[in-house]
Structures are given as structure tokens and as C-alpha cells.
Assembly symmetry: D2
Homo-oligomer: 144 residues x 4
């Protein structure tokens, strides 16, 4: 990886993050981004729990899905999620600080596969997410 | 289905909904619940969009996941999501009104499979969600 | 559906079946094909069982996957499986006659989603399969 | 890992393999087994191809699913596949020698998650498989 690729990944993620009202509204922090990689964190707020009084699966998924998005757009080729699956391994609770790490497993011209692991502040795995991206027209940063 | 089962499904869903701070915070409406079935709606607010300025996949998933939860808890046996997968079929936009319908495909003593279809206000399908529930200890409504 | 589309679906499936050495070798029968739909059957032979002496999951998957292939190629546009998931609901045993029914859930220019239900001779559901197809170059039947 | 655990994994896999008529019939070789791990290989025979004249997805799945089974039964606790998903990354052809490696990602009392990577003789990845196991009654080897 060249420093140019790293700089591009950082510029892309700044623009995406500035526009990503969901991630900002939920307090997600983008901790690190590299080509094909992203790491984000989120604290489970009271309004992120569900009817069983545990972290809502949708909020866990959203954290993982945002991290997936930063990873699969990091090369400045626009990509969206085509399909994703999630395994919930353990419950999370109000106040927990979750970290999601997205790594690129495979990439072709039109598609990519990413694995995202979500852990809590004790290092326990909360969820495993696998997403398949689809390339769409356009770029995030205009590099012409 | 007896009217007792229907009444129980309604009581369970009232309690779950009252405690489900995520669904309430995102403005989800529980439109209908029956044993093994639920229907909810959600309007895509500006703070539910992503870096590509379309509905955030995590918000679509959250709508489907909540609808899944109301369906799989409707018989007053506590269930949580063990695993789920989602196919994103078409983008959604700010202001779109999405409806999710959850139907029970299969159910055993310990597990169940539910399909949730998410459509927009034009009846176009936005996402298909399949969830597998795991039975946990306890009931939502104390019926002793 | 016109009778032309039906005739084309039948011609495509004849050619595919003649070339599909796996389906023929395992004794799969193509019972019915229509545009976007296929039905196949398979008897669990002794050599289709696994170490727990039940029908091997790979054989159940193969039946579903072949049925998926006949459904998603039925319009004479070549398609392959991009991704698939399967839920195993009940075991099957030597001598069981399984039937797989594939229906088209959604289709775009480049992709399609199909659901395949596998039942045994008592009508009990054995497995649920969901596949996503990807369009590739070419056609099965030359219609020029 | 103690040498006792390794010996048990080997005894379990010998018994399972002897009974696994599908794996033996398809010529699968069990190359290595350890607690929570298995590696198997398979050559794509002419009768493992499909209507597009490439390796049948069901045969690739079967290789991965068998490898999954040897890994998730390796601790002498009987387990079956509850659900599995597969991403097909590249086609395989008659004569290709495929290798599947199963690793344990997570394990609880009642369930486990395994990832299986299938590569060809050039080291190219053909498919990624993720399986979730469900514990059933019984053991493979009687250790009383």
C-alpha cells in the first residue's frame, strides 16, 4: 500500500462520514481507515435498546454496515451493500462500547466480500457480519 | 387462530413496543400483529440516510429486524434473533415510507424462521430479510 | 406467460439437463419447468448419506442448487449462482423421495433471487434455500 | 491442545469418515483434522460438472460441508449443520483439485460457527462457506 492510497482512503472516508447522517446521529466514530479496511466504535445509548432491554440487533447491524461501507469505498470506487448476513453471538447492554473491524476478504471488478467483527469493551465478540458489495457508477472523491 | 391467541399477541406487542426504545426513537409504527405475523412502517428521515445520500442499510435492517421481533415473540415465548440475512434490492430516499411485513415460515420448539419483505410507498420491494430466532427463557406477558 | 416463453424454457432445460452430469449422476428428475420456476425430485440413495447416517447436507443442497439453476436459466439468459444460503429444518433418510420447488422472488438485469423449498414424500419441509444468481455472457439456446 | 484431544479428534474422524458414504463416494480425502479444524481435498470428476460445463455448485458445497462436519464433530460432541451460506468466487473445471480448510470461528454450548475456504490447485479461492452447527444428543466415539 502506497501513502497515496492511504491518503485517498482518508479523503474518501472524510467525505462519506460528513454526508453519513445515520452514523453521525448514532454517535459512531471512525477510528481508522485503510484501503480495504475500517474500524469504527459506538456506545450503546438508552435509545439503542430493544423490547428485551438489550442492544437492538438493528443498531449492531448498523455499526457493522457503516464499517463495511467505509472499507468497501476506501479505494474511491463507489460501492453499496448488495447483501449481508449477521450472526448474533452475545447480547450487549446500555453503556457498552462496541468496536467493529471490517476486513476485505475478496474483491473482483464488480463485487467484494467483507467480514466485520463486532466486539465489546471486554473484547468479547458480539456479532459477526459478512457483506457483499456491488460496484456502482461514480467515485466519492473527484480525482480528475 | 383463536381470539385468545390474538389478544395475547396484542398484549405482548404492546409491552415490547413500550420497552423498545429503538423502534420508538426511529418513529416505527406497529401497524398490525397476529400470531407469527407483524407489519410495521417507517418514514426515512434525513438522519436515516448514508454517505451516498440514500436510506442507510442499517435503518432498513432495523425496520425489518423489529418487525421480525414482534412476529417471533407474538406467542408470548421470548425469542431473540440468532442470525439474519438481508438482500438490498433497490435504494430508498429521504421521505420514503417503508412497510415491513414479517411472516413465519417455519417454527420448532427452539427456533423459527421468518421472512420479512420491505416495500416503499409505491409498492416496490426495497429489501428481503430472512431471520432465524432462538428461544430464550421467559415470557413477555406473565400469564400465571 | 406466452406459449413461446414456455417452449423456450423447456428447450433450455433439455439442453442444460443433457449437459448436467451431476444432476443425471445423482438421479435427479426434472419434473417441471416454467419461466422463473422449476421442480425437481431426488431419492436419497445409500451413497448420499453422511457420518450421522442421515441425508448428507451437500446432497440436499445439490438438489436445491440444480433446481435453482433450471429456474434462473429458464428465460435463456445464462446465469450462475453468486451466493446461496440453506437452512436445514429436518433430517432425511435413505430412501426418502425429496422434491425441490424453485420460485423467482425478484429479478433485475444483472441478478435474481430465488427461493427453493425441499420437502420429503410426506410433505414435510427438509430445507429452505435462497440463491442469488448473476447474469453471465451468453445464452443456452441459440435463437438467432 | 493436548495430545489426548488430538487423538480423540482423529478417532472421531475415522469413524465419521468410514460411515460417510457421500464423502467416500465422491473421492473426498480427509487430509488433516485437529480440534475445531479440518482439511479435505477433492478432484472435480466429469460427473461433478453442471449444465454450463463447470464444477457443480452442489459439489463445491458438499466438499465444504463435509469439511465443516469433520471440524465441528472433532471434539466428540455430535453436531449437525443448522444453516450454511456459500459465496462462489470463481468457477472450477474438470480435473481441478480443490482443497477445503475449515476453522472454528466461535463456539458456545449449543452452537458453533465455522468458516470454510475452498481453493484450487493454483491457490485461487473458489468459494467461501460459513456454517452454523447445532449440537445434538450423543457422541461419535463412546468414551465411557
Amino acid at each position: 500500500m502506497s501513502s497515496d492510497e492511504q491518503r485517498l482512503a482518508e479523503r474518501v472516508s472524510e467525505i462519506l462520514y460528513a454526508q453519513d447522517r445515520t452514523s453521525r446521529g448514532l454517535g459512531l466514530k471512525l477510528e481508522e481507515v485503510r484501503p480495504g479496511y475500517a474500524r469504527m466504535s459506538m456506545v450503546i445509548r438508552p435509545d439503542m435498546t430493544n423490547g428485551h432491554r438489550i442492544g437492538h440487533g438493528g443498531m449492531i447491524f448498523t455499526l457493522a454496515d457503516s464499517t463495511f461501507a467505509f472499507a468497501c469505498n476506501s479505494r474511491n470506487e463507489s460501492n453499496v451493500a448488495a447483501t449481508a448476513s449477521i450472526d448474533f453471538l452475545a447480547p450487549s447492554y446500555e453503556g457498552d462500547e462496541l468496536t467493529a473491524v471490517a476486513t476485505e476478504v475478496w474483491r473482483s471488478r464488480r463485487s467484494g466480500i467483507y467480514e466485520i467483527t463486532v466486539t465489546n469493551q471486554k473484547g468479547e465478540r458480539i456479532a459477526l457480519f459478512r457483506g457483499r458489495s456491488a460496484r456502482i457508477e461514480g467515485r466519492v472523491v473527484n480525482t480528475d
